[in-house]
């Protein structure tokens, strides 16, 4: 039915006519189908009985008129007649048939008319019944609507009343929950300060239950030291001179411990229903108070450390003006703190140390370094120089404090002076050892000097004779030798003088090969006297080292003299002293002095470097000890290894001079 208008609501205008057309079509279809069915049935019956009966056509006509209405009824009638005529034509012509079958035709029509009348009556009766029912239904609906309206009015009234009641309850609940759930403690008290109500926060703050608190007054839970004040305040409320009170005060908890709270008390005026009350709000500030106290204690502790420390402590601002200085520091430099505040940090530093200090501070300021410590000199107020060690760092600026330098200063004057004295005595000892060695060498040194002197005398005399004989070219040759030999004698004397000198050590860049050669200039005579041959293997590829020439000469001389002594007992084979130099694997220079003596007794191997240990009859036992301290003072190392096939090799290494190669 609705399938012809699939996209439209069935309630569109014209749906009734579509429905009626469809209903009419169905009626006519029913008529055609009914007649066709009757025809088939009749043919079937004639086939079996041989006698046609037309009863089924009556049924078809009646059904068509009954269900389809008048039109289909007539159509069925016409079709039935047509079927009768065409199917049963062989029985005669129409007229014949009509004559014969007229009653049948009439019966068809009567059947049709009767069906139509019956159908019409039934439809009419149905219509009357339907209209009566509809009327009743409308009446019922009207009554129902009236009842619903009355009911709705009643419901609205009831809902309104409920809402009002709920609002009142919600308000009360809100206030109650506000009171109960507040994290701030709350209470109400009467004007005698007795509690009327307390909330959970206040109860847990003091450790009492609500009932316990209701038996107490505000005075009783106040810390004993503050009760008098509280009483006065309550009196002021009672007299009306105070409406509000706000303070940090201490309470006493149930367990007897004090509790800091911030309390706000407000006067609540009386109403018709209630008397005047005091309303209190408490905030627990115990932790804050404790933190404050801890902070104060900490500050006090630091202040005490600062004030009583035996080391100097001072701070300066980012512009290096002294900000604070403790007593120890003031004693150290002789200035008072107020005098120091007028000074810049650098003013204290000894003029010679200012450059280094300024550079270090610069590194702190630009962040290249976090802290530094340095040993340097201060000038006291009285002009005296003191040695100090300062540990300094930069504390960066925060939101609350600007950047500053905290420095710890230790007076190390005594230690530094002792060190200097020790260095001086070590240098003196080294010099004595050197001069002693020179004494041992005196004979061979004299030989080394006399040798060129003898040559000079001989050459000079020869020269004189050549001049007498007018042989100028030979005279010139003699004179040239005089000069060369005089130079050679001077060379030896200079070496001896430098080794005996008492000059302060001085670091210079030098070639260690030159040092070896300078020592050999002095020791060569001794080698000759002891019939020792020298194998010299000095590498040309040797880095410069930084050192004191005299001290390093002393080391080499000491090793050479030890080697000479070690070979004193060698007989029956050549005595050979091997001196080599080479570049160290890790950079720096390595010098080795090797003898072919009997070697070092393993039992003494460890002790030979210790002071006052000697295997020689007249030895002082300081040579290797001094040599070791000289080499180590140069950042190097001195050690011994057994030589092959016999003897000992002493080696010392020195680091490469920093600027060499530049």
């Amino acid at each position: 039915m609705g399938s012809t208008v699939p996209h439209h609501n069935t309630a569109v205008p014209g749906s009734r006519s579509v429905s009626s057309i469809s209903s009419i079509a169905t009626g006519y279809g029913l008529a055609v189908a009914a007649v066709a069915a009757a025809l088939l049935l009749t043919l079937l019956i004639r086939g079996t009985t041989g006698n046609p009966t037309f009863f089924s056509f009556y049924v078809a006509i009646f059904l068509s008129v009954w269900f389809g209405g008048r039109g289909p009824g007539w159509l069925a009638t016409a079709l039935a007649i047509l079927a009768l005529h065409s199917v049963f034509r062989n029985t005669g012509d129409l007229m014949a048939m009509t004559g014969e079958k007229f009653p049948t035709l009439l019966a068809f029509i009567i059947c049709m008319v009767t069906g139509d009348v019956l159908s019409t009556q039934r439809h009419r009766a149905e219509g009357a019944l339907r209209s009566a029912r509809d009327k009743l239904e409308i009446t019922v609906q009207d009554r129902t609507t009236e009842l619903k309206r009355a009911n709705a009015l009643l419901s609205d009234e009831i809902a309104e009343r409920k809402r009002a009641e709920a609002a009142v309850r919600a308000s009360a609940e809100r206030w109650r929950r506000l009171f109960e759930a507040s994290s701030a403690g709350m209470s109400l008290a009467d004007l005698t300060s007795r509690y009327l109500a307390t909330n959970a926060a206040f109860q847990s703050m003091l450790g009492y239950s609500d009932d316990e608190l209701k038996a107490l007054s505000a005075i009783e839970v106040t810390h004993p030291e503050e009760r008098a004040t509280t009483q006065n305040i309550v009196a002021e409320f009672v007299s009306g001179s105070r409406q509000e009170y706000h303070a940090d005060k201490r309470y006493m908890r149930k367990d007897g411990t004090p509790l800091w709270a911030n309390v706000t008390t407000t006067y609540v005026p009386p109403t018709d229903a209630t008397p005047a009350m005091l309303q209190n709000i408490y905030i627990n500030i115990d932790d804050r108070k404790r933190a404050e106290q801890a902070l104060r204690a900490s500050e006090e502790r630091w202040r005490t450390i600062f004030e009583t420390s035996s080391v100097g402590i001072a701070t300066s601002d980012a512009h290096l003006h002294v900000a604070t200085a403790n007593a120890a520091f003031q004693r150290m430099v002789g200035y008072t703190e107020s005098e120091l505040r007028q000074m810049r940090w650098i003013d204290l530093t000894h003029e010679d140390d200012r450059g280094t200090t300024e550079e270090l501070v610069e590194r702190l300021l630009d962040g290249r370094q976090q802290s530094y410590h340095i040993e340097k000199r201060y000038r006291r107020k009285d002009g005296q120089t003191i040695w100090i060690t300062v540990y300094n760092s930069l504390v960066p600026a925060t939101d609350t404090t600007p950047a500053f330098f905290p420095a710890i200063i230790v007076d190390v004057t005594d230690r530094v002076l002792a060190e200097h004295a020790l260095q001086r005595s070590q240098a003196e000892l080294a010099r004595v050892a050197r001069v002693t060695t020179m004494g041992e060498l005196a004979a061979s040194i004299a030989h080394e000097i006399n040798q060129p002197l003898a040559a000079i005398v001989a050459s000079a005399n020869a020269c004189r004779r050549w001049l007498d004989a007018q042989n100028l070219s030979r005279a010139k040759g003699s004179l040239e030798r005089v000069v060369a030999d005089a130079d050679r004698a001077c060379e030896v004397i200079n070496r001896v003088r430098s080794l005996s000198s008492n000059t302060a050590p001085e670091r210079v860049e030098l070639n260690i090969n030159a040092v070896v050669n300078e020592v050999l200039a002095v020791a060569r005579g001794e080698l000759r006297a002891r019939q020792i041959s020298l194998q010299l293997g000095l590498s040309d590829d040797i880095p410069f080292v930084s050192g004191d020439q005299v001290q390093l000469q002393q080391v080499v001389l000491n090793l050479v003299m030890n080697a000479i002594d070690a070979m004193a007992t060698v007989s029956g084979r050549r005595r050979v002293l091997v001196i080599t130099s080479q570049r160290c694997q890790g950079g720096g220079a390595l010098v080795s002095v090797q003898d072919c003596g009997p070697g070092i007794d393993p039992a003494n191997a460890e002790r030979i470097f210790q002071p006052f240990f000697t295997t020689k009859a007249g030895g002082m036992g300081m040579g290797l000890s001094i040599s070791t301290s000289i080499v180590e003072g140069h950042g190097g190392r001195l050690w011994a290894t057994p030589a092959s096939p016999s003897g000992t090799a002493f080696h010392f290494s020195l680091p490469e001079a920093k600027s060499s190669g530049a």
């Binding site: 004299a446 006399n450 005398v457 050459s459 004779r465 030798r481």
Partner: protein, 217 residues
């Protein structure tokens, strides 16, 4: 003397000293040969001329004194003037005992050195002359027949001709002939002359040096 030119032999390991000494000796018209070591010296043939050895006490490998002893052991007679850069008494005593001509300390006075060298050369020249004479006497002695040597020994023992004839069982005339022949062969002009010659020959077997060497110059 018309001897060949004397020569100074210098052994010193110091090159500049060697050169200076050569210069000095050449300036006084002495021939000089220098050696850097005793080893070099021994490997060189000694010149056939009066020589003097100027020797440094300190030598590489072997000291001058040891070298002196070695020369003595090899019967090499060569007057030595020692030079040392620093003299010490025991060393010089040893050197002088071993026959050194002089022991000079560097730096030496030129004249002392030249004088010592002159003395040494003279001594060598005398030694050489002495040795030459002795060699001649031996040569002459070698020409004697055994019978003549026997007669000579008995003559030197102070026997008369008759006693000699009796001892060797021959006639006195025969002894006279032997005696005349040996005097001629030995070129002795008198019995005294022969005695002196025999003394030289006899002493040469115990001592290489003649204390009277200078006399024959």
């Amino acid at each position: 003397m018309n001897d060949p030119t004397p020569m100074v032999l210098v052994i010193d390991d110091d090159d500049s000293v060697r050169r200076a000494l050569r210069d000095l000796f050449e300036s006084v018209e002495l021939k000089v040969t220098v050696f850097a070591s005793a080893r070099d010296f021994l490997q060189t043939k000694r010149p056939d001329t009066p020589c003097c050895l100027v020797l440094d006490v300190r030598l590489p490998g072997q000291s001058g004194l040891d070298f002196q002893r070695e020369l003595n052991e090899r019967n090499i007679t060569l007057p030595i003037v020692f030079l040392t850069a620093h003299g010490d008494i025991p060393m010089s005593v040893r050197a002088m005992k071993a026959g050194a001509v002089e022991f000079l300390t560097k730096p030496f006075r030129e004249q002392e050195l030249l004088d010592a060298v002159q003395v040494a050369i003279d001594r060598d020249r005398a030694t050489r002359a002495d040795e030459a004479l002795l060699a001649e006497l031996r040569r002459r002695h070698d020409t004697l027949t055994p019978r003549e040597r026997t007669v000579m020994r008995l003559v030197l023992a102070g026997r008369r001709n008759k006693q000699i004839a009796g001892e060797i069982q021959t006639s006195e005339a025969t002894v006279k002939v032997h005696r005349t022949n040996l005097m001629r062969k030995m070129q002795a002009s008198s019995l005294a002359d022969l005695i002196v010659m025999a003394a030289r020959l006899g002493s040469s077997q115990t001592s290489p040096h003649s204390p009277e060497g200078n006399q024959s110059l």
